[in-house]
Symmetry: none
Subunit: 191 residues, 4 copies
DNA sequence: GATGAATGAGTCTTCATTCAT
DNA sequence: TATGAATGAAGACTCATTCAT
């Protein structure tokens, strides 16, 4: 009878928003962005088309939000106390977490990789990506240099490429890819 | 105005077909599959929309053909006398060619990578892909085993992942990626 | 926290209703009817969307109400003791008020003129409009006939047309239109 | 069997384009711009929705084209050898044609007036309007000054306002408006 | 073979309106 | 009374595909 409190509205909004995000992520990853219509997302989420626009400005911004949140979470997990130099221990942990995340949330990575290569990548995506990747590359370079590697820059780039390559190949061929063994090998060869 | 022979007609058909394929590849790579309309392909190729349907059943089959032909060419270049065992020399050559191709035709790889991850495409693609990749993985595994690597299977997969990862990263960040140095490092670490 | 009397409730209702009407009029005039959403009216009025439907049946009926009230006010201002015959003095006053209103509230007139021409609105509107205009035309006709005008009916219609035309042109080109001078001329030529 | 010649295509295009323009004008005038959907235009024109977009970029540009063509035609008919000064004869002719056009094509005028007042007038419209109206006002002013009118500027503006006012009123009340008589009166009072 | 007009299903998006609280 | 989430019908627009010539 009495109108809902602000808190109640907030909760409803947050929850519904999350439902939409989850549904959209699953579908985008599974079928690709273009092959996923707003109608389908609505149907899968059990809501009306219009409601999606109550929570997101456009299909595009829905994607942006998914990527942004996903990247933030990813980054947060992988954070290694920025400025300090890298230790072997930290690097091993970084690799561990990366492989774990990949295994836990392949859908997100599938979406992630499919978009990172698209000719017109979303700007938010590229920004966030580079502001995180560049410092990491720099840390890695120092690390390898300290270990006596001649071409430490190349090794840093190669290391990052490996993480991406493993991601792509694991997604493309999840049944056969020996993720655990490969992880061990990466740790062995790159730390 | 003498009537053309059957052979001449054939030649004309083959050439026009090739024009369409080339134009479509360039546009798909440049703009993405969905952002490229049949109209645009026709305009760029200097022909009418309708004519494309004279040569290809659908937009989809046009893409399939492009991928199929591209993959064939790629495989052909990289072929290393199938059954025989792998030598260090051969592997180095394989790496060389892979990096060279990547550098020569990044647009082409961009299309490939962007599509390889798409679920829909994967299925079309996987057959051909795996019939080529699996034997290669097997060769690599033997090679590494012969070299005394404990986990030769993982190393074979890792090697393939590296090639993909380098492709993805090089495409995503062509200005900064130290392709030549990375290649040297790959040769050093994986042959 | 004493319970409000019925009168107080009534007052609150009337005031809120007026807020909605005022806000809607301002927005309709400023942006046009179709470009103004109920959401926007609610936001500008500082209330919720739903509440508007507590006071008005539909967007359409809200517009109708605005027009109806506006027209009533307009008529009231311009009223010249109905039945009696028209004098030069009264006609001058009528012109004065018309031009004054136009100057004071051009937005309001903009809405009026823009809607008066719309076929859909015309029908809603015509009844009220014509029951007011026809008598006025008749008074004017008598006035001009008494002054010896040959074609008094045409002159009456022309006079009304002038008021509309001045309204339209003044609204369309407010910076340049010499309203005051034109008024003098109208008085000179039509009284 | 053989493909159509360029001329044939041209004819088809021109004719179909005209059908769309005519249908759209009738509907826009009858129901208003916003109340007329592209679907309806297509249905009335006996073609598919999509085809309209083969001929016009958007609903907006369709309207623009209608107005642009209509104004051009209007202007052409009303043209009075620009630079020269105005004579009584020319002015009478101008009034004659204006009233005639109004009678012949009330639909266009209805659309015209309904749009000229809209808050957001189309730019093309305003441009054309002012480049035609300003010079005419200037000619009129000279004409009235030459005739000894004290306030020739106001009279010029008033004259233009009358034409608009007559247009609006005639459209709003076509059955009763004594167009012919009013025309005579305008000629009498303003030439 | 070649053309491009024509189709129509499908897409994203808007917004008046309803309704549970 | 007041709220704003939720609905769903409708709108503009796109584009792969067809077909008469």
């Amino acid at each position: 009878m009495s109108p809902r409190t602000s808190d109640q509205w907030d909760k409803i909004r947050r929850e519904k928003r999350q439902v939409i995000l989850d549904t959209a992520l699953a579908l985008f990853a599974q079928r690709g962005y273009h092959e996923t219509s707003i109608s389908l997302i609505a149907k899968e989420a059990g809501i009306s088309k219009g409601l999606i626009y109550n929570y997101f400005e456009s299909k595009d911004s829905l994607l942006n939000e998914i990527l942004s949140l996903g990247l933030d979470a990813l980054i947060k997990d992988l954070e290694m106390e920025g400025n300090e130099s890298l230790t072997k221990e930290k690097l091993v942990r970084y690799i561990d977490i990366t492989f774990l995340k990949l295994q836990e949330n392949p859908k997100f990575y599938q979406l992630f990789f499919s978009l990172i290569i698209q000719p017109r990548v979303l700007s938010i995506f590229q920004d966030k990506f580079f502001t995180q990747i560049i410092p990491l590359l720099s840390l890695l370079e120092k690390y390898y240099k300290a270990k006596g590697n001649k071409n430490s820059k190349a090794k840093a780039y190669l290391f990052m490429a490996i993480l991406d390559g493993v991601g792509v190949d694991f997604i493309a061929n999840r049944e056969n890819f020996p993720l655990e063994e490969v992880k061990k090998l990466v740790i062995e060869m790159f730390t």
